[in-house]
């Protein structure tokens, strides 16, 4: 649909630039022209965006190229400019690359597991049945619980002598150490999955709601069984919402600070030293604000890559209605 829209746009473009009388008239009838759109109406939003996003972003980038620490904090405007030194130090002398690897792999594994879970849950609650409202409400519990609470409860359960190990011991399995050592990486993924799948569920549910009633009827008339119907009729509708959920989910996992921080504390065990924890420790325990800003910029670039790919893929900026006007 979007390609078609782009073609339309190209076709109308020459006529617009000619600016001849009749065509202008016809556009006027449709509403505001592209030329005299009241763009100034964007000013309040633009100002807010500048204050809340652009200025902090600019400051963050500026911080990453100066030698800002506890000693220079007070005179930050005259702090020495050191160019890419913070970036070089971040990459060569800190655990940044390892942290990126841990963060990205953890985020992708979590997303890959949560997507089918979320979609399945959405499908299960799509048709009306007795008690569906209760099931839907229960599904949302992990989503509405604050991260801090989730992490605290899991941390208590996963103690060396906690309930998880006790139960495992009773069935003959030694649980071992969940909150430190190599197993902690899987703990982080497990808890993240538990807390994050309802987000996918919500988006998938929204996608299912948008399936037209006629489509269901048509599938029924054609005698499609549940799997064929799901595979060839319903899933295509979910492609958009679920790919958005995939992207947002992954980004959320990469950015999650509260969960690993509460679960493992700082300094974190080496196996779960994720990017947000590393940036936090560098900032607030070592007070290397410049260095941590460089790390944050690197992680921003990292996050921009999938975001960019996604935006290119869905072409959010070209909308059917937008082209006509």
């Amino acid at each position: 649909m979007s390609i078609e829209a782009t073609r339309k746009n190209r076709r109308t473009a020459p006529g617009r630039s000619a600016g001849d009388g009749p065509s202008r008239k016809s556009r006027k009838r449709k509403g505001v022209t592209e030329r005299n759109r009241p763009l100034w109406l964007l000013a309040p939003g633009g100002l807010l965006m500048t204050l809340v996003i652009l200025i902090p972003l600019a400051l963050g980038i500026y911080m990453s190229v100066i030698d800002l620490d506890q000693y220079t904090l007070r005179k930050w405007l005259s702090t020495p400019f050191i160019g890419v030194e913070n970036f070089i130090e971040a990459i060569t002398k800190t655990e940044l690359l390892r942290a990126i690897w841990i963060s990205v792999s953890f985020a992708i594994i979590s997303t890959v597991v949560t997507v089918p879970l979320g979609v399945a849950a959405a499908v299960v609650t799509q048709n009306a049945y007795r008690g569906r409202a209760v099931v839907r409400a229960v599904f949302l519990i992990p989503y509405v619980l604050p991260s801090f609470v989730v992490a605290t409860v899991w941390k208590t359960m996963l103690q060396p002598d906690g309930i998880v190990n006790t139960v495992l011991h009773n069935v003959g399995i030694e649980g071992g150490l969940w909150l430190n050592g190599p197993q902690s990486y899987w703990t982080l993924i497990l808890v993240e999955i538990w807390a994050a799948w309802p987000f996918i569920y919500l988006l998938a549910l929204a996608g299912l709601q948008s399936v037209d009633h006629e489509v269901h009827e048509a599938a029924a008339l054609d005698g499609a069984l549940w799997w064929r119907k799901l595979r060839y009729v319903i899933f295509p509708y979910l492609k958009g919402p679920v790919s958005l959920a995939f992207l947002l989910g992954t980004l959320n996992h990469i950015n999650n600070f509260t969960l690993p921080f509460v679960l493992f504390g700082a300094p974190a065990p080496a196996d779960v030293n994720v990017l947000p924890i590393l940036v936090y420790v560098t900032s607030f325990q070592s007070f290397r604000f410049g260095l941590s800003a460089a790390m944050a910029v690197v992680s921003l670039i990292l996050i921009l890559i999938p975001l960019f790919i996604y935006l290119r893929a869905v072409k959010l900026d070209v909308h059917e209605d937008g082209v006509k006007k």
Binding site: R35, A43, L47, T50, D69, Y71, G162, N180, P267, P269
Partner: protein
């Protein structure tokens, strides 16, 4: 269309640049404290004070805030406005923004170990004779409590407010049953007692291996008792044999002696306290009288006492000549006055008020935090429960006053954190410990090299 968008962006960008410039200019205040004789008149003024919250005593703290504000109003005519922070992270954020913008609270309550970092920002008033006189003189404080006010006598920023010295709690009944007539005074004796007191599901020691702070306090203590201050001038000494010995002892309680509950590899200080309170451990080192309310409600009520932690380093029967008699890190809260404050006189009047004998005794009776006021501390000496803590406060030694200390502390804790899987498996190998210490040494040295 392109032009319009460009114009729009230019306009918005311009506004952004303007606000950035305004933000940058809005700093530097002029210090304008009026040197008044006698009482400070603060009528119509407001003094802002930033304190940490006390989650254990929320109502008591609010009541104390109000009471103190009323008294301050009565004495100076000024209004006292309290602000609080819940965690060290929030505190750091507040200090950062205040330091950068040059506005914010006039008086800050800081943890003692945070004072060197605050000092290194250069944003707080250095206390000369005039300032000390305004708060009633240096002599009114317990001398040891001034140990972390600044790098030396001439450069001090912190005024001691409360003291939280570390001691160890011991279960009198369990020690008596094991035929131990007095608590250990050397770390070797402490380890021996630990073994002796362990049987079945009852353990000799309660140690919080997973705590984010406890481990470095043990290591620092044992090292300085053996003569290693960890930071010596321009070099960090974590790769010293004393530090390794300290870790071996600390880990050995679990791995060699088995006198600690194996579950303690997941414990923070609160869980170790809970184990001691349940009567499951005979010794609980690295606690303070703040644990009294918990213990008095527990199974060990009336069956526990406090004592100084051992002050003879591991592997020795007497302290080496260069060893320091350190009972605890110098722990508690300091008050600092912001350099940008426009009412420094009022700030010092406030600090004078809350560090007086009666105010300090009152604070102790509400929150259980020990006074730094010498007279108020002396008055508590008769309480046998608190006496060991007061002695520990007097024998507390300051951690090195360096902006790099935060990193050293972090590196020392990190050695313990990364060793936990080995601890759980039953032994920390010599090579693993050595490589972790090497890593800690190089990170800490790098931080010290940056220190200005």
């Amino acid at each position: 269309m392109e032009i319009t968008r460009k114009k729009f962006l230019t306009a918005v960008g311009g506004a952004g640049a303007l606000s950035l410039a305004l933000a940058a200019c809005g700093g530097n205040s002029t210090s304008s404290s009026t040197g008044s004789n006698g009482k400070v008149d603060g009528t119509g003024k407001t003094l802002t004070v930033l304190f940490s919250t006390k989650p254990q005593y929320p109502q008591e703290q609010q009541a104390w805030f109000k009471k103190t504000a009323d008294k301050f109003k009565q004495e100076t005519g000024a209004t006292l406005q309290w602000e609080t922070f819940p965690t060290a992270n929030d505190e750091m954020t507040r200090i950062q923004t205040s330091v950068v913008s040059g506005t914010g609270p006039d008086v800050y309550g800081l943890g003692t170990t945070f004072t060197p970092t605050a000092y290194s920002t250069g944003a707080f008033v250095k206390l000369g004779d005039a300032e000390w006189n305004m708060i009633g003189g240096k002599d009114k404080f317990v001398p040891a409590s001034l140990g972390i006010s600044g790098p030396d006598d001439k450069n001090q920023i912190g005024i001691p407010f409360v003291s939280r010295p570390f001691v160890m709690a011991y279960n009198t009944e369990l020690l008596q049953n094991a035929g131990i007539d007095k608590p250990a005074t050397t770390w070797d004796e402490f380890s021996e007692h630990g073994k002796k007191l362990t049987s079945g599901d009852q353990f000799g020691l309660a140690i919080a291996y997973k705590d984010n702070f406890d481990p470095w306090k043990f290591i620092w203590g044992m090292s300085i008792q053996a003569g290693n201050k960890l930071i010596d001038g321009k070099s960090v000494k974590i790769d010293d044999p004393t530090v390794k010995k300290a870790y071996e002892t600390y880990f050995g309680w679990l791995t060699n002696d088995h006198s600690v509950d194996p579950a303690s590899v997941g414990w923070g200080n609160a869980q170790a306290l809970a184990a001691f309170a349940a009567g499951k451990a005979a010794y609980f080192p690295m606690t303070s009288p703040l644990s009294i309310p918990t213990l008095d409600k527990s199974a060990v009520k009336g069956k526990y006492k406090y004592a100084l932690m051992p002050m003879i380093p591991p592997g020795a029967t007497s302290r080496p000549p260069n060893g320091v008699e350190a009972a605890s890190i110098l722990s508690g809260d300091n008050l600092v006055v912001a350099d940008y404050s426009k009412q420094k006189d009022l700030a010092f009047a406030f600090i004078k008020m809350i560090t007086e004998k009666d105010a300090q005794s009152d604070y102790y009776s509400i929150f259980g935090e020990l006074p730094t006021n010498a007279d108020a501390a002396k008055a508590l000496n008769n309480d046998p429960m608190v006496a060991p803590a007061l002695e520990s406060a007097a024998k507390s030694v300051a951690t090195p006053f360096s902006g790099a200390w935060g990193d050293v502390q972090l590196a020392l804790t990190n050695v313990a954190v990364q060793s936990i899987p080995d601890l759980a498996a039953g032994s920390v190998s010599d090579s693993d410990l050595s490589s972790r210490l090497k890593d800690a040494q190089s990170k800490s040295q790098a931080a010290l090299d940056r220190a200005k």
